[in-house]
């Protein structure tokens, strides 16, 4: 599908614009979770890692693929979990039990 450079470029440019639009609305309050969360999304490269490891390929590329699976999984699992942990701490005033 992307082998047509025009199609590929279209997808790329449009998603960059969507990204800019969506991210610009994130308040500075949440910039750290935004960063770790978007970081987890960059772990989408795990899809590539899975393809690299399964393709019928020489041993050295399989090992490259395996290492890629490990690193991408660290990125995905670590990123989403740590973001969740951070976001759970952000509470509005009324939600606080001990607030006087």
């Amino acid at each position: 599908m992307l082998s047509d450079p025009a199609v590929a470029l279209t997808v790329l440019v449009l998603s960059l614009f969507v990204g800019i639009e969506v991210i610009s609305k994130v308040p500075p309050l949440l910039h750290t979770p935004l960063m770790s969360g978007s970081n987890a999304i960059s772990g989408i490269t795990i899809v590539g890692a899975l393809i690299a490891v399964t393709s019928d390929s020489p041993l050295v590329s399989t090992w490259f693929g395996f290492a890629a699976v490990v690193f991408a999984t660290i990125n995905v699992v670590g990123g989403f979990l740590v973001t969740n942990r951070m976001l759970a701490m952000f509470k509005p005033k009324q939600a606080q039990g001990g607030d006087k």
């Binding site: 992307l2 949440l30 978007s38 989408i44 590539g48």
Partner: protein
């Protein structure tokens, strides 16, 4: 699954990413947004596994178990004050994963003796280069943040020249690999140089410029994934990667704007390498500063009705966020309204102060952004500056010769009284003296942020 179904499943996962990121625009919906983005990742992974058949399962299961264990362990154990280090390492692992995928693809093309199409070869080159730079750049950023390596810029004569030569070499190598991808020697040289370049680009950047570096590396990890998408002809990767690329670029721009510096100046200016001659020379002439005790400060608080606390990196270093929360609660109990003013570049990464204060259970409606809180300082009785320096330096407003002139600052000097809690009179990272400390309405309280705040708490309680 037919290719069309696969494509639609990747589209679904991209939509979930976008919806998830969109929900990060409010603290109320952010946790669900993160879960939705994670669901999108799940969809992409399952789709890939189904689409690929059953080859290489032992590697996949082993790799996923190993990666999940490391990722989960780190995510659940990391201290909130170490979040910049954690994000740096996550950036690095994303970057290296993309580069490894590109390398694996090139090696399998080579073993088949089949030359990849021009666009694919170009994408392999870009993914390797960006991924490699992201890996070593992130490791250096991590070492600087964790203070396992000096935070000051590391510079040497001719540095820019050396970097320029290496830059030209990289371009030449990229062209060589992209045009004849089956010659593997240039590829391996490219890998080595990309790794070296990551180190060389980050060592001249000072510790306090880390918010920019982390944002930029975040962007790179996305762009590397995006390039890998072109290698594998996979839209999921292209869309996901470019979303992250855009996100990192926006944060980079916000951070640069908050320091009134260009990206080029941050990356190559070696800011904070040595105190600027003029500014440092002028420092001694500004008179002496008088140190006060927490008890003196408590007296002022007894007549105050409003307080704004300005946290900086010093609060993170001293792990003072819980003590600060205690102080804020006590002041509120005494009828003093208490809010926090957050400068965009306070700390070592975007939003660093907000996370620490949220950890200490400060409600987020008390964390106020710079533009919103600045008009309030003149009507405020006490501004309490806690381990922040350059972001409250009035020279940025008035002194055109100052290296930080033009940087937006928090106008604490306009409050009735200013307390500055600071370890010593050392200037901030910019090497610039801060006239705020010499103002008549400023009281300096020297000591470790946490210790002083705890003393302040007991002094205010007794008063």
């Amino acid at each position: 699954m037919s290719p069309t179904v696969l494509q639609i499943a990747y589209l679904l996962s991209a939509v979930l990413f976008i919806v998830g990121l969109k929900m990060l625009s409010s603290a109320r919906t952010a946790t669900r947004g993160n879960a939705i983005a994670a669901l999108g990742m799940g969809v992409a992974i399952v789709t890939t596994l189904i689409g690929q058949g059953v080859l290489g399962w032992e590697y996949i299961v082993g790799g996923v178990i190993l990666g999940s264990a490391i990722g989960a362990f780190a995510a659940l154990r990391v201290q909130m004050t170490s979040m910049p280090e954690m994000v740096a390492l996550l950036n690095g692992s994303g970057g290296v994963a993309s580069a490894l995928v590109a390398g694996a693809e090139l090696l399998s093309y080579a073993s088949r003796g089949e030359s990849p199409a021009g666009m694919v070869a170009t994408a392999i080159v870009l993914s390797t280069l960006i991924g490699g730079v992201t890996l070593t750049g992130s490791v250096i950023a991590f070492l600087k943040l964790a203070e396992k390596m000096p935070g000051q810029p590391i510079t040497y004569p001719g540095q820019q020249f050396v970097n320029a030569i290496i830059g030209l070499g990289v371009v030449a190598l990229c062209v060589m690999v992209a045009t004849s991808p089956l010659e593997l020697t240039p590829f391996w040289v490219l890998v080595g140089i990309a790794l070296l370049l990551g180190v060389l680009l980050v060592i001249p950047i000072g510790g306090a410029d880390m918010p920019v570096v982390i944002s930029l590396l975040n962007s790179y990890s996305g762009l590397a994934a995006c390039a890998t998408g072109f290698v594998l002809d996979n839209t999921g990767l292209v869309i996901g990667g470019s979303l992250v690329g855009a996100s990192g670029l926006i944060l980079t721009k916000i951070m640069c704007d908050a320091m009134n510096r260009s990206l080029g100046n941050v990356l190559f200016g070696a800011f904070g390498a040595a105190p600027e001659g003029g500014a440092a020379a002028g420092a001694g002439e500004q008179g002496t500063v008088k140190g006060y005790t927490p008890e003196d400060a408590a007296v002022i608080f007894s007549n105050a009705s409003s307080c704004i606390i300005v946290p900086g990196y010093g609060m993170a270093v001293a792990q003072a966020q819980h003590a600060v929360r205690e102080l804020a609660d006590l002041l509120e109990e005494k009828g003093i309204t208490c809010r926090f003013a957050i400068h965009p570049v306070a700390g070592r990464m975007p939003g660093h102060m907000n996370v620490l204060l949220a950890e200490a259970d400060v409600p987020y409606d008390k964390l106020i952004e710079m533009d919103e809180i600045n008009p309030e300082f003149p009507q405020t009785d006490v501004a309490l500056v806690l381990g922040a320096n350059d972001v409250v330096n009035p020279s940025a407003r008035s002194d055109e010769s100052s290296p930080i002139y033009g940087m937006p600052i928090l106008d604490v000097d306009r409050a009735q009284h200013v307390f500055v809690i600071k370890r010593s009179m050392n200037p901030g990272f910019a090497g610039v003296q801060n006239p705020l400390f010499f103002n008549e309405n400023t009281m300096m309280v020297f000591g470790d942020a946490k210790g002083v705040v705890l003393k302040l708490v007991s002094a205010v309680r007794e008063y």
